[in-house]
């Protein structure tokens, strides 16, 4: 099948490669770029495990074609930590025992980062509402919500504020 070129920025670097037009962005990120931290749970846009940041906004990478990301700036779970320093959301989730099996985790972290960038001091209800596009089957969510609240506190005391 014919391939077309695509180029975008991802986790601070720039990539350029050829894909079949039908290739999903998620498959391109996982298989062509080797960034397997982005997970595929349902491949029909409901579970949110494949959530990435696309120009700062959370997006379902399973519902996009790779070619649609042309020129975009993408952040995946691999791009969250700053050098060896974990992102406050990662630190907070560790403290809160946020997750169990870890499969939904990358999508939740990306959604949480997007939420905190938009609203650095969300209420518990707002956190629940904003994260309702991500499914977790292990935790019952409470520990994840707790983790976001810890991240809010960590970010409030971090001089550089919310990073994405």
């Amino acid at each position: 099948m014919t391939t077309v070129p695509v180029a975008f920025a991802i986790n601070g670097g720039r990539v350029e490669f050829r894909v079949e037009p039908r290739r999903t962005l998620a498959d391109a990120i996982r298989d062509d770029l080797g960034l397997s931290g982005t997970h595929l749970g349902c491949e029909h846009g409901v579970c949110g495990a494949c959530t990435i940041l696309l120009d700062g906004q959370p997006a379902r990478s399973c519902l996009m074609l790779a070619v649609q990301a042309e020129g975009a700036e993408i952040t995946t779970i691999e791009g969250l930590a700053h050098r060896d320093e974990p992102h406050p959301i990662q630190q907070a989730m560790r403290e809160a025992h946020g997750f169990q099996c870890g499969f939904c985790t990358p999508g939740f972290l990306m959604s949480a980062v997007a939420l905190l960038a938009e609203n650095p001091a969300p209420t518990r209800d707002q956190i629940r509402a904003e994260l309702s596009g991500n499914l977790c089957r292990c935790t019952g969510y409470q520990s994840i919500i707790d983790g976001v609240e810890i991240a809010v506190r960590l970010l409030a005391t971090t001089s550089d504020g919310a990073r994405t």
């Binding site: 969250l80 974990p86 560790r94 997750f99 099996c101 935790t139 019952g140």
Partner: protein, 853 residues
């Protein structure tokens, strides 16, 4: 906990998770992330019909499609594999031997018809489009009622009917007790089909070594050893004669087998003596060909050239569904062997919802003989399980009826009990273990107790307290046989839950809410579960199943002092790497960072029949790890005693410093001791200390208990149910890591909430699945699951290892507590909740806001 073991006090603390280093940074490695060089991708053609004969299948166009490497029909795979053997030796049970894929007939929508292997998943799915199949439809069996009809089409021809199992167990003089009781109250309950739905679907990569053909199977499995031996047994088929010849002529191999068999028999003599040969014979009498099949399987295993290695990495949840050996895995292994290349299959969500495991579809008729004052006299239950078409392998509905039979009486006194258990076959997905696979015994009993209380105008909490086994009654036994000791602390959890919920205060709250048109209800449910249970308990389930209580662990100290512990447990979210490190570190007197856990690789970990499941992780796996660490500590202490010229009993280990008591400044490190031991042994490559220990179950009764209590608020405009308060009082003995236990409990409760209010594997009248995406199968989100209060009681027991399991409990208690609260809230409308599934329309019907269908 032994004071002599140099505790560093990690057990009992919510230490952060070792797993999070990789899982929070995207560095987890799940089966979908495994890509051996040159790996090919597989996709399955699945049946669009529930029940049909395959008249013709044409794969020629698919074989020619770009990127397609090979196409296998069911008939092709049948030539390359042996069928799955029948399991569960229950008298009177028909359980079929069944193929990895279908050659002649499909038995449910999603059944396996063909397998395409291609250069990419995209190309494989393109190939599927080009396969032509002519089906001759057969009348589908879509419900329990249809399966019970003698005129329904047979799902399994040799069964002679669609009722595969029908067995009645009786304890006490049921007729006399029912005749003597003041009254008998009867109700019928129905539980709908649900699905485990881990966020990671199933998946397997069969890696073929290009040089010697050795298979390395990477899989999301709850039991890597079981998967290894089933793949070995069913694939790489050679003729029986050549297998036998191989076994006879290859002396080394023969000796290896005989030694291993002797070891197994010696290790498990007591359990093996308890097997039930009469039961097995009774089962084989239904289908004598199965004896031949099982023997061929065994001979095939003996004569194999090579046995696969199974490696499991991170696993994205399972909840029982990955305890199954998938038919897909057998087909994939056969295909990979045949084409000599590595093959990868990652299930998609539609496949997972139709064939990845479903559960709980059961009808239960319950009668309780009771006196006017609420004293329970007798219990009678008639349960019918819809197992779908294919039996779960190795854990399926027939086996679960035995747990249900044993546990139905719950934590209460009864004078008599009878249960009739039936398993029927239908043209639906397979019924598998789902977190507390027997849980409907708790739902039906606890629901029924509320019905009894309401009928007698008594408080449900009082009726429970009145009939519940009290500590002062102990030691005693359940009417079904298993002993109960202080670990069966259900009554303590109930008492605490009543205090926490304060029913009187709730009545005030209910009244003021009612004045505003809001309907509140309070519901409770109590249970105890075998986690892991006593030997006798497993005997009462099925003779011989107490083999599951034995598990090994290996603890080693390398020459550089590194501590490595090997477990056959298969963590998939339960945080074993953290909790087992807590146990080992406490036993050895070292920081937990010094302990590394190895799991998932059959070349490295001790053999087990089980794996992770059945709430066995902490009690059985943890028990084995604890025993192995204790023994390795003893070796370290003895070596150190020699080096320090002291008696072993005078040696102390604190924070990794091994020293004579009171002289920490002249201590030795593990590395120094290990180095000295290695020099002494002159074996430089072996670990310095290496102990494999077998843990053989608790000396106590090993019960885990809980009471769930919740308040619901029902909106009669929308039919939506809110849960403003949910409380769990649980007792799993000493808690290793409270945050981990809380997480297990809350996750289970969330699945229970999903089960009652949102999740349903609906099928239409033609057995077509109606919930094949997450648009129709509704997994509850953060908006639907409330905060859940978890309170721990920690009843200690005199046993060597009193950790008790907690993995399943949340899901066992929740459906009963929630449905009880809903009936309570709808009491003003005279509602009687008999279905477990209560979506908004059903709520509105119960409240007579809308009419019935």
């Amino acid at each position: 906990m032994s004071a002599a073991s140099g505790l560093s006090g990690l057990v009992g603390q919510s230490v952060t998770r070792v797993e999070d280093d990789r899982l929070l940074t995207g560095r987890g490695r799940y089966v979908a992330d495994v890509d051996p060089p040159g790996v090919l991708h597989a996709a399955f053609l699945r049946s669009p019909l529930a029940h049909a004969r395959i008249k013709r299948i044409d794969v020629t166009a698919a074989k020619r499609a770009p990127g397609v490497v090979a196409v296998f029909t069911g008939a092709d795979i049948a030539r390359l594999t042996r069928p799955f053997p029948p399991l569960f030796m229950l008298p009177g049970l028909y359980t079929p031997s069944f193929p990895a894929m279908c050659a002649d007939k499909v038995r449910h929508v999603g059944d396996l018809v063909a397998l395409v292997v291609a250069e990419s998943r995209y190309a494989a799915e393109d190939g599927l489009e080009l396969i032509e199949v002519d089906y001759e439809p057969l009348p589908p069996v879509a419900s329990i009622a249809q399966a019970l009809s003698p005129t329904s089409e047979l799902v399994w021809e040799r069964a002679g009917g669609n009722v595969l199992y029908d067995f009645t167990d009786t304890f006490g003089d049921v007729d006399a007790i029912f005749a003597a009781a003041d009254r008998v109250i009867t109700e019928r309950f129905s539980c709908h089909r649900q699905s485990n739905q881990p966020m990671e679907t199933r998946g397997t990569v069969i890696e073929v070594d290009p040089d010697d053909g050795h298979l390395t199977v990477h899989s999301a499995t709850q039991s890597s050893h079981a998967l290894r031996w089933v793949i070995a047994a069913l694939t790489g088929k050679r003729s029986t004669l050549s297998s036998l010849r191989r076994f006879v002529t290859d002396t080394e191999r023969r000796r290896g087998f005989i030694t291993a068999a002797r070891q197994f028999i010696r290790d498990n003599a007591q359990e093996l003596r308890r097997q039930d040969p009469a039961g097995m014979r009774a089962q084989f009498s239904k289908d004598r060909t199965s004896i031949v099949g099982i023997n061929l399987l065994g001979i095939g295993l003996l004569g194999k050239d090579d046995y696969p290695t199974v490696k499991a990495h991170d696993i994205g949840g399972a909840f029982g569904s990955k305890a199954q050996v998938a038919r897909e895995d057998i087909a994939l292994a056969a295909a990979a062997i045949e084409i000599g290349r590595s093959v990868k299959w990652i299930e998609d969500r539609v496949e997972n919802l139709t064939d990845g495991g479903q559960a709980r579809e059961e009808d239960l008729a319950v009668s309780i003989a009771v006196d006017h004052d609420g004293t329970f006299r007798g219990l009678k239950v008639d349960i019918i399980i819809d197992q779908g078409a294919f039996p779960g392998f190795p854990a399926g509905a027939p086996g679960f009826t035995r747990i249900i039979k044993t546990m139905l009486p719950g934590s209460y006194h009864w004078d008599a009990f009878e249960v009739r258990s039936r398993v029927v076959a239908t043209n639906k997905g397979k019924y598998v273990a789902y977190r507390g696979p027997w849980a409907n015994e708790t739902w039906a009993r606890e629901r029924m107790i509320d019905v009894v209380a309401r009928t007698l105008r008594l408080s449900p909490a009082e009726v429970r307290l009145k009939n519940m086994i009290d500590e002062s009654d102990m030691p005693t036994a359940m009417i079904t046989g298993p002993r109960v000791d202080e670990t069966m602390s259900t009554k303590k959890t109930l008492t605490r839950a009543i205090e926490l919920m304060d029913p009187e205060a709730f009545e005030n709250e209910r009244r003021s809410a009612a004045a505003e048109g809001r309907y509140l209800g309070l519901g409770m449910a109590c249970y105890h579960e075998a986690a892991p249970g006593h030997y006798e308990y497993w005997d009462s389930i099925n003779p011989g199943t107490n083999l599951l209580l034995a598990e090994r662990a290996r603890a080693t100290v390398d020459r550089d002092g590194a501590i490595v512990v090997y477990t056959p447990q298969m963590p998939h979210g339960q945080s074993h790497e953290t909790t087992f490190a807590q146990i080992v570190a406490d036993e050895l007197g070292v920081p937990r960072e010094d302990v590394r856990l190895v799991w998932g690789d059959t070349d490295k970990t001790p053999f087990t029949i089980g794996g992770t499941g059945g709430s066995r992780g902490a009690p059985v796996g943890g028990g084995a790890v604890r025993r192995a660490s204790r023994e390795v500590r003893q070796l370290i202490v003895e070596q150190a005693a020699q080096m320090l010229e002291a008696a072993p009993e005078d040696i102390d280990v604190v924070a990794g410093n091994v020293h004579v008591k009171g002289v920490p400044s002249r201590g030795l490190t593990f590395a120094e001791i290990a180095h000295e031991a290695t020099v002494a042994k002159r074996a430089r490559t072996e670990p310095a200390f290496d102990v494999t220990s077998t843990y053989r179950g608790h000396t106590d009764c090993g019960w885990s208990t809980a009471t769930h209590a919740c308040i619901v608020e029902i909106d009669l405009e929308t039919g939506l149910v809110k849960i403003p308060r949910y409380v769990v009082v649980e007792d799993c003995g000493p808690v290793i890591n409270p945050a981990v236990v809380d997480g297990q409990v809350r996750g289970g409760v969330a699945q229970g909430i999903g089960a009652v209010l949102y999740e349903h594997c609906a099928y239409d009248d033609a057995a077509n699945p109606q919930a094949t995406t997450y648009m129709d199968y509704l997994i509850p989100t953060a908006m639907e699951i409330p905060d859940i209060e978890v309170h721990h009681l920690e009843t200690l027991s005199p046993g060597e290892n009193d950790f008790r399991g907690i993995g399943e409990g949340g899901m066992i208690g929740a459906p009963a507590a929630i449905t009880n609260a809903i009936e309570d809230a709808l009491a003003p409308f005279g509602a009687r909740v008999t279905d477990q599934y209560l979506p908004p329309t059903r709520i509105l019907q119960l409240a007579h806001v809308i009419g019935h269908d």
